[in-house]
C-alpha cells in the first residue's frame, strides 16, 4: 500500500528571514484559535475524501513552535484522530533554535511527535546575521539538548551553504558542529535567491555579493564527502541520514506519493490532483468556514506532466528512477520515452544505469536541473516532420497527445 503523508502549515514566525519565501507572518494579534479550528475542519474534509491511514505527519511552516502553549496543545489535540499510538508513525514538527522550551517539547512528545526538524542554517554568527536569522550559534546545541531531554528520538538539522561571505572552511566547520551534535539527519541547502525576498532585493541593489558558483560547487561536494565519512548517507540531493534514519515524510514527496496538505499556502497531492491553498490566514479561515477547503490552484496531473514531475522528483533521490515502478505510477515507459536523454547523460557521466533504472552520479547531482529539464523536454519536443512539411510548428503536446496548435489571436 502506498504511503499517505499529511502536511500541516503553521504560518507564523517570530520574524521573517531574509531569504525565505514561505508564507509566514508574525504571530502577534493573529486569529490563532480560529485558524486551528479551520485546520481541523479542512483535515476532516480531506480525510473524508481520502481516508487514512496516514503514514507520516509533518507540521511545518513557519515555525509551529512559536505558538503559545495552549494553542499548540489545541493543535495537537486536532491531530489525535490521525495518530494511532499503537502503530507509531513518523510525526515531525519543524522548529527553530530558541523556540523550543522544554514545556512545549514535552507537550509535543506526549502528542506523539518523534522527530524535530531544526532550522540551524549555520554555526557562524555573521552568516546567521546575513540570513537575518534570529538565533545565535550557541542556541543550536542547547535546543538539540532540550529535544533529547524530553525523549525526541530523531533530529533533523538544516544547514545552508553558498551564503555571501561564507568560506569553504567555515562551511565545513558548520558541518562538523552538526555531526558532533549527533543528530540523525542533516539537510544541506544551497542558498537560493527567491524572487520577492529581502535578500534578493539586496543582491539586486548590489549590497551583497552572491557566493561564487565554483565555491558553491566545492561546498556541495565537501558536504557529500564529509557527511559520508561521518556516517551520513546521502539519499537525496540535499538530504543525508544515518542508516535507517531517512525522513519518511520527505520520501513521500520524492516518490511522488499522495499527501494531504492542510493550512494556508499548503500544497497537497490527492487522487492525482495537485492543489494549493490560499496564502492568507483570514481568507483561508473564511474559505474553510464556507466550503470546507481553501484551494486556489489545482491541476489534475496526467500523461507527460505526471511523468515529468515524477522524473523531477525521483531523479533527486540517490536511488533514482526505477523503471517498473515508474511505469506503474505514471503509465509511461521511461526507458523509451527518455531514451535520448538517458543515452546523452550516461555518456557524459551525469547519469548511471542501476539494476532497475537510472540515477544521477556525483557529478550529475551538481547539474540535476539540466538533466531533468532534458528529460521533461524530450517527449515535448516536436515529432519528426514529414519530408517537405513546413507545418511542424503548428503541433503542440497536450495531455500526452499531439494537437494542432490554436492560433494565438
Amino acid at each position: 500500500m502506498e504511503s499517505l503523508g499529511l502536511y500541516l502549515h503553521i504560518p507564523f514566525c517570530r520574524s521573517k528571514c531574509g531569504y525565505c519565501d514561505f508564507y509566514s507572518v508574525a504571530v502577534l494579534n493573529r486569529p490563532i484559535l480560529p485558524l486551528i479550528r479551520a485546520l481541523a475542519r479542512e483535515l476532516e474534509n480531506r480525510l473524508a475524501e481520502r481516508p487514512g491511514p496516514i503514514s507520516t505527519i509533518f507540521v511545518g511552516g513557519g515555525t509551529p513552535t512559536v505558538l503559545p502553549r495552549p494553542e499548540l496543545d489545541e493543535l495537537m489535540s486536532c491531530l489525535k484522530q490521525v495518530v494511532d499510538h499503537d502503530h507509531p508513525i513518523e510525526f515531525t514538527v519543524e522548529a527553530n533554535p530558541g523556540t523550543v522550551e522544554e514545556a512545549k517539547l514535552d507537550l509535543l512528545t506526549r502528542a506523539g511527535v518523534d522527530r524535530i526538524s531544526m532550522g540551524a542554517q549555520s554555526f557562524h554568527l555573521p552568516e546567521l546575521q546575513m540570513l537575518e536569522r534570529l538565533h545565535t550559534p550557541d542556541e543550536i546545541p542547547r535546543s538539540v539538548k532540550s529535544c533529547r531531554s524530553v525523549g525526541i528520538r530523531r533530529i533533523n538539522l538544516d544547514l545552508m551553504f553558498g551564503i555571501p561571505g561564507q568560506t569553504l572552511a567555515g562551511w565545513r566547520e558548520s558541518l562538523h558542529h552538526a555531526v558532533d551534535l549527533g543528530v540523525e539527519h542533516i539537510a544541506c541547502y544551497g542558498l537560493t535567491y527567491e524572487p520577492g525576498t529581502a535578500l534578493t532585493a539586496r543582491r539586486d541593489r548590489r549590497e551583497i555579493v552572491p557566493c561564487d558558483e565554483e565555491l558553491e560547487a566545492e561546498m556541495y561536494l565537501a558536504a557529500i564527502d564529509d557527511l559520508e565519512s561521518a556516517g551520513y548517507h546521502q539519499y537525496e540531493i540535499s538530504n543525508f541520514a544515518k542508516p535507517g534514519e531517512r525522513c519518511l515524510h520527505n520520501l513521500v514527496y520524492w516518490r511522488n506519493e499522495p499527501c494531504i496538505g492542510v493550512g494556508p499556502s499548503a500544497a497537497g497531492y490527492l487522487q492525482g490532483v495537485r492543489y494549493k491553498n490560499v496564502s492568507n490566514i483570514e481568507e483561508y479561515i473564511c474559505k474553510v468556514e464556507q466550503g470546507g477547503q481553501a484551494v486556489v490552484e489545482s491541476e489534475k496531473l496526467t500523461g507527460q506532466d505526471l511523468a515529468g514531475e515524477t522524473v523531477m522528483l525521483q531523479l533527486r533521490l540517490n536511488c533514482g528512477i526505477v523503471f517498473d515502478e515508474f511505469l506503474l505510477r505514471t503509465g509511461v515507459e521511461a526507458r523509451l520515452t527518455y531514451a535520448r536523454s538517458i543515452a546523452k547523460y550516461v555518456q557524459n557521466g551525469f547519469l548511471k544505469v542501476t539494476d532497475s533504472g537510472v540515477a544521477l552520479t556525483r557529478a550529475g547531482r551538481l547539474m540535476a536541473d539540466t538533466v531533468i529539464a532534458d528529460f521533461i523536454d524530450e517527449p515535448r519536443s516536436a515529432p519528426r516532420c514529414r519530408a517537405g512539411s513546413t507545418r511542424r510548428s503548428k503541433w503542440k503536446m497536450e495531455n500526452g497527445k499531439w494537437k494542432m496548435r490554436t492560433c494565438r489571436r
Partner: protein, 599 residues
Amino acid sequence: MHDSNLIRNFSIIAHIDHGKSTLADRLLEYTGAVTKRELKAQMLDDMDLEREMGITIKANRASISYKYHDQVYTLNLIDTPGHVDFHYEVSRAMAACEGVLLLVDASQGVQAQTVANAYLAVEAGIEIIPVINKIDLPAASPEDTALELEQVLGLPAEEAVFTSAKTGEGIKELLDAVIERIPAPQGDPDAPLRALIYDAKSDPHRGVICHVRVVDGVVKRGDKIDLMGVGSTYIVTEVGQCMPKPKALEVLRAGEVGYILAGIKTIVDVNIGDTITLSSRRAGELLPGYQPPQQMVFCDFYPGPGTETAELREAMEKLWLNDCSFTFETASSDALGIGFRCGFLGLLHMKIIQERLERESDVNVVQTAPTVTFEVALRDGTVMRIESPSELPDMSHVEHIGEPMIDTQVIMPADCIGSIMQLCLDRRGVHKKTEYLSPTRVMLTYQFPLSEIIYDFYDKLKSMTRGYGTMDYELTGYKTGDLVKLDILVNGIAVDALSVIVHRNKAIHRGRRLLIRLKKEIARHQFEIPLQAAIGTKVIARETIRAYRKDVTAKCYGGDITRKRKLLEKQKEGKRRMKQVGSVSIPQSAFMSILDPGD
C-alpha cells in the same frame, strides 16, 4: 451647393509628441464631428500599435464642418506622424493641402523635425500657420517659442496662434485662422477628372481605400476610372469622406479631399502618387507624383523557433500588402537558415514592422543587427551595392568600399554643445555649421557616415542633452572609407549573421565591445565557449564564457513541485527559441547586440 470657397484642406505637422493628434481630437470635438462620449485620446491613431506606443505611424484624416460668419465650411484635416522615419507620410499629406498647422510645443521650443517639416511645407509652397501648443503647461513659454520660430524659420511671431490641445484653449481662434488664412482650393470642376492618390489603405472588408485629393473634375459612384500611372481600369463603388468614420457622399468635386472605393483587391495594384481620371474623359497630364520612400536601414528577418520560412514569407507578404513602406527579398545565412533581407526607413520603422509581423501573423522573428548599404568597387572596375556584410566579396577583389553619408541637423541647449561636438567627432562627423536659434539654443550641422548615427546616436543625444536634443537627417551620397569586415567566431565557428562592416580604426574597440555584449547574452553552457573577433584570419579580440558548474534546485517539496516543473519547461521553451550554432545556443537578442557601436 458645392462651393470650393467653403473648403479648407490642411495638415497638422510638428516634431514628435508636440500634440498633433491631441489637437486633432480637440478640433473634432469642438466642431461636433464626434461626441464627447465617442472621443478617446488621439482618436485618429487607430492602429493598436499606435495607441500602445502613443505615437502616430500612419497619417490619418478627418473631415469636419465648421460654421464661420454664418457659412458652413468643410475642413479636411490630415494628422501626420512626427517621427523622422515617417517623413514621407508628411510630404504625401501636403500634396493634398493648401496649408499646414505647424505645431510647436511651448515648453520644448523649435525642434529638429519642426524645422524639417516646415521646410517641406515651404518647398510645397503652401500656407503655414504657426501654432504654439501646450500653453497650459507650467513650463510653457509661448512668446519665446513664437520668437524662436521667427528667428529660425522667419515666420512672424505675431502670426502665431496659441492653443492648448489639453484644455481646448485657442481652438476657436485656430479654426478661424484656418478659414481666414489658408486659401480655398483652386481647381476646375468642369475639367476632366484628375484626383491624386495621396494615401491608400487596405481594408479586410472593403478592399483598397484610396485617399484622394480631387484636383479637377468630379467623381461619383458608378464612374469608370483609370489609374493613369498603372494603366488599370475600375468602376467606382463608393465615394465619401472620413468624418472620421467613412461616410458615403454623392460626388467628390474639385478641391475636395475624400476616399474612393473601386473594388481594388490589393494595395500593390495602386501606386500612391498616381492620378485617377475618368475612362470616358481622360485628363491629358498626370499630376506630379511622389518619390518612393527610401529605405535607409537593412537587416535580416529569419524565422524564429517554431516558425518556418514559408510561414514567415506568408506573413511578410500579407503585411507588405498592407504597408509597402519596407522592402524584402530572400536571404540566407549559415547560422540562421533561409530568411529575408529587409529595408526600412529607419530604426523605429524596423521595430514597428517586426512587431506587426509577430502580432498580426503569429510568427516568431529573429532579427539581425541593422546595417546600411555599402557601395563596393571591385578591382575589375565593377561597382556593387551590398546590404549585408555577408554579401561582401573576398577582400582581395575589393578596390574600396563606400558608405552612405548624411547631412544632420542637431538642435540642443547651448550648454551641451561641447559634449555633443565630442560625440559627433567620435562618430566620424565632419562639422559644417553652427547656428544659434536663440542665446540658449543652438543648431549644429554635421556630415556623418549613416552607419555611425543610425543605431544609438539619437539615444545618446537625448541622454547627453537631458532629453532636449533633437535631430533630423537627409541622405547625401556615398563616400569611400577605410572599411573592413569584422567576423565573430563563437566556439570557433564564424557566425555570418554577426559580421559587421566597420571603419578600420574602430575595429578593435568595436570587436571588444561586441564580445562583451555577446558574453552577457549567451548563457553559460556545460562547456567553455571561446568568443573571438577577427578581421580575415587575424583575431583582434577574445573573450571566454565559462562553463557552469552547478545547476540544481536546492529544495523541492510539496508546494514547489509543479512550479519547479513549469519553470524547467519554460527554460527549455526559452532555449528552443534560441538559435543553435554548433552546440551553442544563441538567444535572439545576441543578434541585436551588434547594435551597440560602443563608446
